[in-house]
């Protein structure tokens, strides 16, 4: 497959020989505006064409796995939040689910509902940032601000719920930190109304804009086979036409109870699996998340929100891997316990890290501006790539 790709994408020999211009090695990052953090992209360019690009990671490495192995589970949890700082609730949830499964800890229904509400609100907030920063990458400043306006509402709700504005530390082992109050519930409903109201506006401003479409459609196409082969997950995978969502296919935390659709890329503006599809899947997911939040809010039962767990939590000997649908894809923690209060080994499978690996494959023989568009459409968070 890869061989076929090379012959397809490499420029024909005759052209390369006849009109040869000097190739240049460019360092995009680690302080480049479009690399979403501290990613360094070494780009080999021929004029405006990018021949190759190698992502260099590790500038934000914080030894998450080692730290998590040296702390009790409850204390490792806030570190899990900090991996993907834009999807903090989802990260904590994944970690909690792993610990709870290994330790056979029950979670009350109310807590599970609250987890879904918080996780989906966080997903909306994360997708709004993806929307805004993608617009920013492509040179439109205003959608970024509009996205942040709505995100601010979501963040305020999560702040009321959990106490944090970015790193919520909301899901806890055995439940969630705080209970939902009627005031917060009405805030959430107001947010859903506002979100649905401005969503068409986003599309008028950006999604349907011809300039935006021209910049993203047919750019950075990842075929179905490529997506699977490179371990794509989340919106990126779905944009390539694979209907795979862990919330549907391996439901956790009562997701099987909620009715929602899994949007996939259909090549509306170009080819299936192009940047526009990846962007659009996220945009539709915002609405789907709104639906889930609404249902969870309607069907939330009464009850306790935090199961009592021993102060010094010792998990039984064994290992567990629970995958979770993070805003960026499959996030799972592989936890090995030998009966101690601390894990023997914690390994995280992060979506950004895996999704990023394809960059060199698709950022080949594209324009320099397309590299920015492709990188933005994959929507990586360096905190999670480097951990």
């Amino acid at each position: 497959m890869s061989e076929a790709n090379v012959t397809e994408t490499a420029p024909p020999a005759s052209r390369r020989d006849s009109l040869r211009t000097e190739e240049m090695l460019l360092n995009m990052g680690p302080q480049h505006p479009s690399t979403h953090g501290v990613l360094r992209l070494v780009v080999r360019t021929d004029g405006e064409m990018v021949r190759e690009s190698w992502p260099q990671i590790g500038f934000l490495h914080r030894c998450f796995e080692k730290i998590a192995e040296s702390l009790p589970y409850a204390q490792a949890l806030p570190y899990a939040d900090r991996m993907d700082y834009l999807g903090s609730v989802n990260n904590g949830l994944a970690f909690c689910l792993g610990v709870e499964k290994l330790g056979a800890i029950e979670v009350s229904e109310r807590a599970a509902h609250l987890r879904v509400i918080a996780a989906e609100l966080n997903r909306i907030a994360s997708h709004l940032i993806a929307f805004g920063t993608y617009a920013l990458d492509l040179g439109a400043f205003t959608p970024f601000i509009y996205g942040f306006r709505e995100r601010e509402m979501a963040v305020s709700i999560l702040e009321k719920l959990s106490g944090g504005r970015l790193l919520y530390h909301y899901p806890r082992i055995g439940g969630v930190a705080n209970d939902l109050t009627p005031e917060i519930a009405s805030d959430i409903r107001a947010f859903l109304v506002q979100m649905r109201k401005v969503w068409p506006e986003y599309n008028a401003l950006l999604s349907d804009n011809q300039i935006f479409v021209k910049r993203t459609a047919n750019v950075g196409v990842v075929t179905r086979e490529q997506a699977i082969a490179w371990g794509f997950t989340g919106p990126c995978l779905r944009a390539s036409g694979v209907r795979f969502d862990l919330r549907k296919d391996q439901p956790y935390s009562l997701y099987e109870r909620f009715a929602f659709d899994v949007p996939i890329g259909e090549g509306t503006k170009g080819t299936t699996g192009d940047c526009w599809d990846r962007y659009w899947v996220r945009m539709v997911e915002i609405l789907e998340s709104c639906r889930i939040v609404e249902q969870a809010l309607d069907g939330i039962p009464e009850g306790p929100v935090l199961t009592k767990v021993p102060r010094v939590l010792k998990l039984p000997k064994g290992e567990v891997y629970v995958p979770c649908e993070n805003p960026r894809g499959e996030l799972g923690f592989y936890i090995v316990s030998d009966g101690d209060p601390k894990a023997l080994r914690i390994k995280s499978r992060g979506p950004s890290f895996c999704n990023l690996s394809i960059v060199n494959e698709i950022c080949r023989d594209v324009l320099l501006a397309d590299v920015v568009a492709i990188l933005g459409s994959i929507d990586i968070v360096l905190g999670e790539v480097d951990r």
């Binding site: 040179g139 439109a140 205003t142 509009y146 306006r149 804009n209 320099l368 397309d370 920015v372």
Partner: protein, 414 residues
């Protein structure tokens, strides 16, 4: 010849003759042109100030936030504070820079931006040089800015700068073609390259009206001119590297493009050049297509607008007499005001020129506003799409407009 330099020169010579009789004429000319140059520089600085403040404030409101509002009332002194900051900043030069090119580039860019002001009229008589070839001259001297920016791209020895410079040169040169075509439409229709002549043509009789007010503007005289106006404006956006064509300085791709390595006052030069170029495009659009100093504010003597208002009031008379009397009263008021004004030659001249300048600057600022508005709305276009737009959209349509205009001139000679 009614250009200001000549007037200045003759009047200065007349007054100071006893003193100046020994001084060679070229010195008086040099003084006159230096004064003119300073005025232009001042105007460019003013444009940069108004431009940055307006840009940031409008951007703020579009983005549902306040822009700068701390320095002075409503933050109006913010650009001054920024300017002082730029002046005081350290002047950094990269080690690998080609120093000669690095230092010359900003000067050349600013020079390129200043050159059009030599012929750019603000009103009928407020123009530094009333040149026969003004239009050609304005379009031609963009080349100097291109060279300046290529220098800025090469000089600092930064790859980002080089990319920005190359992009800009490619873009500006390509867009000169549609810009020229759009200007050609006006040249064909008006039969002149002189900006004053073109503006005068737009005040001439049209559709049976002696003084057609805004309906005499080029955009109303021919559909070709209407299309050409929009194309000229879009091409002007591209030639002044404004969003959505700002890819030479695309911050998400090229960090800051050709001025990546420039700081302090050298950066301010690029900055001023950009805003000056923006104003030139806006003013050229206003003069070529939107009637120059004719309308929307009617000027004394010419009775622009009155005729239209009269016709309008006649039309309304049939339906709503009350409204018609209001329009009549307005017309009466304005014309009586003009009659007072026109009683004195000096006042009349000043009023004419002031209103003309207000018309030109007002229309230019409106177009300026649209540029800002567009900047904060659209994503950036890719380099190949910029070329596509230029060569495959604007160029054929521009050629069509030129042919239309030629046919129109042949069929309906003026």
């Amino acid at each position: 010849m009614d250009d200001i330099i000549l007037q200045f020169h003759t009047s200065a010579v007349a007054v100071l003759w006893p003193l100046l009789s020994k001084v060679p004429t070229w010195i008086t000319y040099a003084v006159a042109y230096s004064v003119g140059g300073c005025v232009v520089l001042g105007w460019i600085a003013l444009m940069a100030i108004v431009g940055t403040y307006g840009e940031r404030r409008i951007a703020g409101f579009i983005q549902v936030r306040y822009g700068p509002n701390r320095v002075g009332p409503q933050g109006i002194f913010q650009p001054l504070a920024d300017g002082i900051k730029l002046l005081c900043k350290e002047d950094t030069v990269p080690n690998v820079a080609n120093r000669a090119l690095f230092f010359v580039a900003p000067v050349l860019v600013l020079l390129g931006a200043m050159i059009p002001f030599a012929v750019l009229p603000f009103s009928e008589r407020i123009v530094l040089t009333n040149m026969e070839l003004a239009l050609y001259y304005v379009l031609a001297f963009q080349a100097i800015e291109v060279i300046g920016i290529l220098m800025a791209g090469w000089g600092p020895g930064s790859k980002w700068s080089l990319y920005g410079g190359m992009r800009l040169a490619a873009q500006m040169l390509s867009y000169e073609i549609p810009l020229g075509l759009c200007a050609l439409v006006i040249i064909l229709l008006s039969g002149s390259l002189n900006l004053g002549e073109i503006a005068r043509w737009q005040a001439g009789p049209f559709l049976g009206m002696e003084h057609p007010w805004i309906f005499g503007w080029a955009v109303f005289r021919s559909p070709a001119a209407l299309i050409a106006f929009f194309m000229f404006y879009v091409g002007g956006l591209a030639a002044t590297k404004r969003a959505p064509f700002d890819l030479p300085e695309a911050e998400s791709e090229l960090v800051a493009g050709y001025h990546t390595e420039y700081a302090g006052i050298r950066f301010a030069f690029f900055f001023m050049a950009e805003y000056a170029a923006m104003y030139v495009v806006c003013a050229m659009s206003a003069i070529l297509f939107l009637g120059g100093w004719h309308g929307p504010i009617p000027r004394p003597e010419t009775a622009e607008g009155f005729e239209f208002m009269k016709t309008w009031s006649d039309l309304i008379q049939a339906g709503a007499p009350g409204a018609a009397t209001f329009v009549d009263r307005c017309t009466l008021f304005v014309s009586s005001l003009w009659s007072v004004v026109s009683s004195n030659d000096g006042i009349r001249l000043i009023a004419r020129e002031a209103i003309g300048a207000a018309n030109v600057v007002g229309k230019s600022f409106f177009l300026y506003f649209v540029m800002i508005w567009a900047r904060w709305t659209f994503p950036r276009i890719r380099i190949d799409q910029v070329m596509h737009l230029c060569l495959k959209v604007l160029l054929p349509i521009g050629l069509g407009c030129v042919i239309w205009a030629a046919v129109q001139v042949v069929l309906f000679p003026h």
